[in-house]
């Protein structure tokens, strides 16, 4: 019988090889890949996200857990069939133009993937046009913008405006976050969602995609 708790425990500790092996064992026992993914890997990432939010784990622990999750996914993905990978929702994420800080953005990406969402990562220094173009091409549900600087956070407003200009504002949720960003700022630029941390961002994104 697949030991989901063990998978979760090892994944939280970042023990990638063991996670990979346990995922392979579970498949060999006949457990469906979707079940291993949800009860093992994604549930572990939820726990990591909560602990991160509560200051119980920090950046290295999140990154190492994400690495272990990817090791597990390597085994699970080939075994998945149509229907296992139903897309819950798609998020285009990036750090805004002029800003090269990507630690926070990467953490949000990890947590979004931990919710089973599909994430298109545009990296750092991303122009408003690039966000919009990608969101249209990928038929994304959400654009998630990150900024660490008070001087670059204003770029988020350009993203909102570009969405209006492209005629997609009503069809896309714009989410903002980063050290200097606040709910008040989010409201002032007409964005939809502010999230203070990566776990909250992923909770809110999932809510948008499943409502």
């Amino acid at each position: 019988m697949a030991d989901f708790e063990k998978i979760s425990e090892l994944m939280q500790k970042g023990r990638a090889d063991e996670v990979k092996q346990l995922c392979a064992d579970a498949l060999a026992e006949g457990v469906g890949p979707k079940e291993v993914l949800e009860k093992g890997l994604l549930s572990a990432m939820n726990i990591v996200g909560e602990k991160f939010k509560n200051n119980e784990v920090f950046v290295p622990e999140v990154l190492i857990a994400a690495r272990a999750m990817n090791f597990g996914l390597e085994v699970l993905k080939p075994a998945m069939v149509d229907g296992d990978m139903d897309e819950i929702g798609k998020v285009v994420i990036g750090t805004v133009k002029g800003d090269l800080h990507d630690i926070g953005k990467n953490l949000v990406k990890i947590m979004l993937e931990g919710k089973g969402l599909t994430v298109i990562d545009l990296g750092a220094d991303v122009s408003a046009e690039k966000f919009i173009e990608t969101a249209i091409n990928e038929k994304a549900n959400i654009i998630a913008c990150s900024a660490l600087l008070t001087t670059t956070m204003t770029q988020m407003e350009s993203v909102v405006k570009a969405a209006v200009d492209a005629g997609i504002r009503d069809n896309i949720t714009i989410m903002v976050g980063g050290a200097p960003v606040t709910q008040k700022f989010c409201d002032s630029i007409g964005a939809d969602i502010y999230a203070a941390d990566a776990a909250t961002a992923s909770d809110k994104a999932l809510e948008v995609c499943t409502s």
Binding site: G14, N55, V57, F58, V59, P60, E61, L63, I64, R67, G98, D99, L100, H101, D102, I103, N106, L149, T150, T151, T152, A179, P180, T182, K184, F185
Partner: protein, 449 residues
């Protein structure tokens, strides 16, 4: 007591009557003189000019020379992305794909260290007598991350020996640069390491305790005081930071200052902080800044071993009057507490009558100040108005309204005066916070004659 004496007394854990004030005007200093962030980061003359203005307007007890965590990284091969309204950002990490340990230690004549040292020496000569000067260096962990990139976080778990070796190297760099800055006359060396908030106390103990202890020990041995600056939610690491024995710690608004102070007090270490940079200093009003500062001071069990400072490096565009508001609240706490109460009291009704601005006999210069005796910027603003009055004599009227009087607060509300100090001519706002130059002021008045 001079500002410098206050800072030094507090760092010596002595009890003093007032709280020292340490505005972190990095590139924001340039705004005071109309220079861009890049100009004050690369041109010693413009930097010194701006630092002089910070000292004049913000009346700091302690003042940093540069708040730039890219100086060492640039010398060690990181490319920088420059900005007109922010410090540069590291754009490439030379060790991102190779696990090497560099050996080069920046020399005193490399990169922008000469610029920094020149400004330090100039400010030491000009204001060093009365203002404690802070030399800021990049902390060993943040410097290691500049060199290695975000891989450093994974390395902490997967390649801990490498991280230890890299930190040994960046500690040597930190000590070298600290030495140059002490030599240039800095009273306090601040070791700035924002990334410390992103790791657990266990990782701090494993990797950071030794490097930071070494740096603080080096600074102490070389006769300067030290401070450990961190940004972000470093709550869990305050005690481990104290164990590295800095003289003081500075935190941003993500940390509850009252709670953190209990920890630093238990180690007999000074704490500095933590006026919110964005929500209050950048986007708030002058009133918000005064109130927030008073509330912050009032939230603490005691005001010993305390320095009031912005949470971190001040954004370039912080309105000047906001910083003046914070400075007044730190230096004249009781008086500003009363002002804030009066301002919030909606019952004060303006009992006077506003001048009939459209039909004045002669131009009317109105100077609105927090208090022209204690607020430096207000003193200069009033002096410039008095100078103009002297120039025009009986052809103009001039009056000062100090915010210390409830009726003057009521007048400000009626006239919608938002920033202090300000100068209005014939009921119209002409100058706010920045002291007008004489020629411009004269011509403004002449237009109304």
């Amino acid at each position: 007591m001079t500002g410098k004496e206050k800072i030094i007394a507090v760092l010596n854990k002595e009890k003093i009557d007032s709280i020292p004030w340490l505005p972190f005007a990095g590139v924001h200093a340039g705004k005071l003189k109309g220079y861009t962030a890049k100009e004050v980061s690369t041109d010693a003359g413009k930097l010194i000019d701006s630092l002089r203005e910070v000292n004049k307007l913000y009346k700091p007890d302690g003042q940093p020379i540069m708040f730039d965590l890219q100086i060492e990284a640039e010398i060690l091969g990181c490319e920088l992305l420059w900005s007109e309204d922010a410090p540069p950002t590291v754009a490439s990490h030379p060790l991102s794909d190779v696990s090497d340990i560099p050996t080069h230690i920046p020399a005193v004549d490399e990169g922008r260290i000469p610029l920094s040292v020149e400004a330090m020496k100039a400010m030491k000569a000009e204001i060093g007598e009365h203002t404690a000067l802070y030399g800021l260096i990049t902390g060993p962990f943040t410097l290691a991350s500049h060199l290695r990139g975000t891989n450093i976080f994974m390395d902490m778990i997967m390649n801990p020996e490498y991280v230890t070796s890299l930190l040994e190297y960046t500690t040597r760099v930190a000590n070298a640069v600290a030495g140059y800055y002490i030599e240039a006359g800095m009273d306090v060396i601040a070791v700035v390491d924002p990334l410390v908030s992103q790791i657990s106390p266990a990782h701090f103990a494993e990797f950071m305790d030794k490097p930071f202890s070494k740096v603080f020990d080096y600074i102490r041995t070389n006769g300067a005081f030290s401070s450990f600056f961190v940004c972000g939610n470093a709550t869990a690491n305050i005690a481990p930071m104290c164990m590295t024995k800095p003289d003081s710690i500075s935190v941003d608004e993500n940390v509850n200052l009252a709670e953190a102070k209990k920890v630093t007090d238990s180690f007999d270490i000074v704490i500095g902080g933590n006026i919110p940079l964005t929500s209050i200093m950048l986007f708030g009003t002058q009133q918000d800044n005064m109130k927030n500062t008073i509330d912050l001071i009032d939230s603490l069990d005691n005001t010993d071993r305390l320095i009031i400072a912005p949470g971190c490096d001040m954004p370039y565009d912080i309105p000047i009057e906001n910083t003046i508001g914070v400075q007044q609240a730190v230096h004249q706490t009781d008086q500003i507490r009363a002002m804030v109460e009066n301002y919030e009291c909606t019952e004060i009704v303006f009992e006077g009558e506003l001048p009939d601005y459209a039909n004045l006999e002669r131009p009317l210069i109105e100077v609105f100040t927090l208090d022209s005796i204690t607020c430096a910027a207000c003193t200069y603003m009033k002096a410039s108005a008095m100078d103009i009055k002297k120039h025009f004599g009986d052809k103009v009227d001039m009056v000062e309204y100090k915010y210390t009087e409830p009726q003057n607060i009521a007048r400000c509300k009626v006239m919608e005066v938002k920033q202090l100090p300000s100068i209005y001519i014939n009921g119209e706002l002409k100058y706010s916070s920045i002291i007008p130059n004489r020629a411009g002021f004269v011509s403004e008045v002449e237009k109304c004659l």
